[in-house]
Amino acid sequence: MTEKLLRVTLDGETLQCAPNDPLAVCLYRNGVRGFNAGSKTQRPRGFTNLEWWMPERLQSEQDAFLSPYSRVEREGLTIRSHKTSFSYRLVARMISRFIDSEFPHRSIIRKRPFWDPTSRYLRKNLPNPSPIVVTEVKPKQSVVEADVLVVGSGISGLSFALKLKQLGGKVAVVEGDYVLGGRGSYDESIIHGLSNSTRSYADNLVRTAKDESAHLLSNAVFDGFFEDGALGVELGGLRADAPILFKAKYFVFATGLRDQPSLFGNNDLPGHIVASSALKLTNYYHVKLGRGVVIGNNEYAARTAIQLKRAGSPVTLISGCESLSGVRKSYLTELQEAGVDIITGVKQMRAEGRKEIRRLMADERRLDADFIASAESWFPALEIFGQSSVPVGYCDWIGSMLPMHGWYGETANPSVFVIGRSSGILDEPACSAFAEATACHIANKLNLPVKNEAEGKLDAAKAALNDRYPDNYRAYSNIVTCYERNEVLNEPSKRAVYAADPYTVFVCPCEDVTLHDIHRAVKEHGFGDIELVKRYTGLCTGKCQGKRCQMSGIYAISNLTGKSPTMTGTFRQRPMVITTSVESLEAIEP
């Protein structure tokens, strides 16, 4: 690369950044893993997910509350993290064991003589960002009108959009990231059954979509359903975000599955990232991650481990299961060829390090690690399905709650469709084929002048998936059968929580909710309802609004109550999808 590097100052320290890289990538490249502190405990924190919805906050003089996913666009950008005063941090760290959900309710603290001055002290000293008065050009609202709005520009979203466009439908695709292609923009695995990689498959789709001048909006987020319209937001990065009004007959969600941080001891330490983010850093941004561990027993864990190893990171693949039963044979062979170390049957797991992860203790083994990548389970954008009253059910094969839908992705909400990985298909060619069938189905609903090819497409897609990936086909048909019979998709979960000190296993990294907090809520206070656990602990109420913790929270609660995840239910989902600044909302013109 011959591009000139830009200078960025973080808390007085100068860093060199590639222009247009997200700030978080720039930090990682410069060896900065942790840049914030946990809200309650003040333990060091980095980020777990490198996504457009990153909940961590940085602050610059001109732009309050920056997302670390904002791109470095100007020379000399000065940002600061939200570290508190040394003394506050010291005290908080010293008593961090007591700062749990029960802390304010402890008998000394809740008494008036103690609480009154304490609350006044906290009001003055809480390490929150300060407000900033700025005067600048106000953002303007834009309107996106189409027959169908597709959310997500991965393989499914683009396949759908291209097919519908070809059939004469008006379609718009929104993508939160500034890179189109979704997971395909950085996953270089060879697709089983095809001779090219996910990345080239997706790149090809993106190129075709651009050639055919499809309506593609990157940096644009679907922000929520409201009674009087659907809201979107165009992410401005260093500038203000602008609202978008979506006017569409149908909404197709191709939002994929989000990787979720695993639950092990000290899983809040900087250096713990999810597998997709590790791949993104390695393959898209070419950051050297160093030695690492990948956790999971499924093909995405295997694919991540293989790619990281090939990119030069010594990797160990770890799983709590006795064997890598969830990995397809072809990937097992690849794992071996790549020379990835494999450890299975791990029961206890704990990360160690002072400011960032240095090693992982897995049972009796000690593994030196600069990063830990979680690929154990995923979940779809539950906030969207909750908002649009689409019921979800638990599917153990995916290890997640999935929206209930029919073969074409149709849901209980007649204007909402779901396709791709968020609907329960994991196989790329199948994502594409089913998405095209959905496009034909919707084309019929739109009365587009095409001959009915939906059924044929669907049958072919079904047969091909069954042939290639029978396990996935079975799980998928199970979801559809339940939807059609109006039954509850309800399987017991076999998900691993690695035994460790429950005070150090963070379920919700935004609000510092640990396993210990959830245990106390369920066992001591007897909160059986997930909403009450949420209100007591603050689980899912932080800046990510459950994007990292929702499924872990459900697992933890269902493990304790003995109820299955479906019966435990999800948290009530409220708009918005991402936190949106007042100045953007101000510009709404309904």
Partner: protein, 381 residues
């Protein structure tokens, strides 16, 4: 199932009644809620408490309630995070200023004097507030905010420890009548026989009362709310802009800014939902009143129901023509949380000793037919 007292509604009012019953030694109490405790309006509330009302009746009731609220952390096993951060009303016209000036004379007599402030005072103490067009402000230092769920959990914990029952996910379908007597309620689970039945169903109270041929003037009014990411505490107490559709905002102990703006009701059904219209109105008022909020980020929005009566005051007790053994504690018109501690105690007195306290008397259900409505005009949101 049989019980002495059945409370229909497991919100803050229902639980406060049950808590006070248990505290007075009556443990044969069952509280039912159609969902989890607090699931109706309590958990959706803005969590402010105040003693400043225009009418004497409400003010006196709120003062009593506040006394009990202050002791809640000492009495309960949960800390309701009560913080006396004050309420600040920003005033923009002379008529409004007059009303506050007049009432403040009365407030001073009651020992809850509010502090009048000029725009210059406000500028000096709270530089973040835009004082353009403002003619004065009133600050009520006795008011504040608390954590509504924690107060509820405190009551719940004490009720359960005291031996009374709380049944969640039990929906009251119908009141059981024998002649002119109420003998319990039919629920989605099983019938519950009870000597006395208290309806504390908030905005939904009429649904159950109607099954006994009783109707009270309670109208559900949907309100939307909005919460922002935590910031340094820079908003003075609960800030109310009286000009901009009574836009208000407060910062919780954690620093999250919660608030709302009075926004025309779209529906009369009990459907929770949110509108873009509200978001726009709210953020415009926010940016006008506190320009520093423009960069603040909204976490989420939600909606809930005010249980509004014609005089914006609650209904406690029973009507003279009502079936025997039927009681009501509802219609709090947005003041449920702050009135709950005393409302529960007064209701417990009524249920156990058949004694109506003088403070509770004006809130009797029959006041609407008697033409003795309470003149309450200090309404927020």
């Amino acid at each position: 199932m049989k019980t002495k007292i059945l409370v229909i509604g497991g919100g803050i009012i229902g639980l406060s009644i049950a808590y006070n019953l248990v505290k007075k030694g009556e443990t044969d109490v069952v509280v039912i809620d159609r969902k989890y405790v607090g699931s109706g309006s309590t958990t959706r509330c803005a969590s402010g408490f105040r003693v400043h009302f225009f009418s004497d009746e409400n003010t006196l009731f709120a003062i009593e309630s506040r006394k009990r609220l202050m002791k809640a952390g000492d009495e309960l096993k949960f800390n309701p995070l009560v913080e006396k951060i004050g309420y600040m009303w920003l005033l923009y016209d002379d008529a409004m200023l007059d009303a506050y000036r007049r009432t403040n004379v009365r407030w001073s007599q009651l020992g809850i004097a509010a502090t009048p402030m000029t725009p210059e005072d406000v500028n000096e103490t709270h530089p973040y507030i835009n004082t353009e067009g403002m003619i004065a402000a009133y600050f009520g230092p006795q008011d504040g905010e608390l954590h509504h769920d924690f107060l509820l959990f405190g009551y719940r914990d004490a009720i359960l420890k005291g031996g009374a029952k709380i049944l969640e996910y039990v929906d009251a379908k119908k009141l059981l009548m024998n002649g002119s007597r109420i003998e319990g309620a039919e629920t989605s689970a099983a019938s519950i026989e009870a000597d006395k039945v208290v309806v504390a169903g908030g905005a939904w109270s009429n649904q159950i009362l109607e099954t006994a041929g009783v109707k009270v003037p309670i109208m559900p009014e949907r309100k939307e709310m909005c919460v922002m990411e935590p910031m340094k505490h820079f908003i003075p107490g609960l800030l109310i802009n009286t000009k901009l559709k009574s836009w208000y905002i407060l910062q919780t102990a954690r620093g999250e800014a919660v608030g709302s703006v009075d926004h025309p009701i779209v529906k009369e059904t009990f459907e929770y939902g949110n509108t873009l219209e509200f978001l726009r109105e709210y953020s415009r008022a926010a940016a006008l009143t506190l320009p520093a909020l423009r960069k603040a980020r909204v976490l989420r929005v939600w909606s809930g129901f005010y249980e509004v009566t014609p005089d914006h005051s609650h209904i406690l007790g029973r009507g003279p023509q009502w079936p025997e053994n039927l009681y009501i504690a509802a219609g709090f018109s947005g003041h449920g949380l702050l009135m709950a501690p005393y409302a529960g105690e007064a209701m417990a007195d009524l249920l156990l000793e058949d004694r109506t306290t003088p403070l509770m008397e004006p809130f009797r259900p029959s006041r609407f037919e008697e033409g003795k409505q309470i003149n309450e005009e200090l309404v927020i949101g």
